[in-house]
Subunit: 233 residues, 2 copies
């Protein structure tokens, strides 16, 4: 006799999906790449891109596949978010979903069509419409996680263009944390990151152009290792 109240095979009747929240930064706002669903259920609803996971596919691989299908990008770091598994969350059966998120540079690629998406579009986090399934919850709790990571890991550079001004960096944090920061103090705070100054300046501004910088990941990792450095915004 089985230990369970149901047959063991009745457990193998669920599917799982990976939903991939893709964040970008544009016009001073953090945005998410949403798709409009091309099929039932929730046809025509806006949703976080996601897909069922193949029986032999690892979870982060599925998340990367979704990102690749939509953007053509590869080798982007995927961060695991929460897992959502309420029995009622999917109308067609028990489907639990593992949320991942990725940070990308909006200008680095073009949105591609995808098998499950009528269209895809960047949407400012202030203007998110009603989403399919429990995707509103997934998006907001994943954004909370992103903000937390922004505090303790220098992942802001995954959102900014490769060359950026210090003010652009500051504005990203001001947007995410919904605060205003002092310019001088902000620059003191990021001193230990040793951002690489470039021999290049901002163009087409009608004031003194700011210097451009880039982030040196390997030097950052080195100071974590060697000096036990802990980034903190």
């Amino acid at each position: 006799m089985s230990l369970y109240k149901i047959e063991i095979n009745d457990f193998f009747t669920s599917a799982f999906s990976v939903d991939c929240v893709i964040f970008g930064y544009e016009d001073g706002e953090i945005k998410a790449l949403l798709i409009q669903r091309g099929m039932e259920p929730f046809k025509h609803f806006w949703a976080i891109p996601g897909d069922l996971v193949y029986p032999n596919e690892d979870l982060p691989d599925a998340a990367s596949r979704i990102l690749h299908e939509l953007t053509g990008l590869s080798d982007v770091e995927m961060h695991q978010s929460h897992t959502f598994g309420s029995p009622e969350r999917h109308p067609q059966g028990r489907v639990i979903t593992i949320a991942y998120f990725a940070l990308i540079r909006i200008t680095d690629f073009e949105i591609k069509a995808s098998s499950w998406a009528e269209k895809a579009q960047w949407v400012s986090l202030n203007e998110i419409p009603a989403l399919a399934f429990d995707h509103s919850t997934i998006l907001s709790s994943t954004y909370e996680l992103l903000k937390q990571k922004l505090t303790y890991e220098p992942i802001c550079f995954e959102l900014l263009p490769e060359r950026f001004t210090l003010n652009e960096l500051q504005q990203l944090y001001e947007y995410a944390f919904n605060t205003i920061m002092d310019k001088a103090n902000f620059r003191k705070k990021i001193k230990p990151l040793h951002l690489t100054p470039l021999n290049e300046r901002q163009k087409n501004v009608k004031h003194r152009p700011a210097k451009l910088f880039k982030f040196d990941q390997s030097e950052y990792l080195k100071s974590v290792q060697d000096d036990n450095y802990q980034f903190k915004m």
Copy 2:
């Protein structure tokens, strides 16, 4: 024709489980409640208590059920940890597992037998044996998460007895963060928690007995709400 390379029903062939890391604190050490498996696979191996999730069961409910079966405890807060889903992690099929963790007071209950456990035992985190499946990974990454939560949320009181001395509290942190702290400075740091002093003292110690305190959750939540207080160790 299906959009997928396999039949849609072939996705509904996986199961998922919840593994529940139960942490306790005893003799100055953080311990995990492990079970010895009574069935294949990994029969006789030590493992994190876990179980398949019933088709109509919500994930936190499954985690609570596991805790209840083993300890008789109910109404314990469950914290979601990471999800592990490598295709090879379970020898009998695709089983992904969502890890949860709970913090409990070791003295508050007695370990019960359980359908899937030969025996259960508290094991110090310094003495964890080889575990079944990928449970070593699950345990260590969940402990990292616990340490992180200990820094930003006053969940230490879920591990300590209801009445505790300030030194016991300090020792818990010293163990978790593997540091030594200054007594006077530690007490200044926890001032804003407004721990309730009791008219009671330590007993059976061969020195001046310390005052006992308890934690007032509702007052803590009030100062979070009213004064935007953020706990930080």
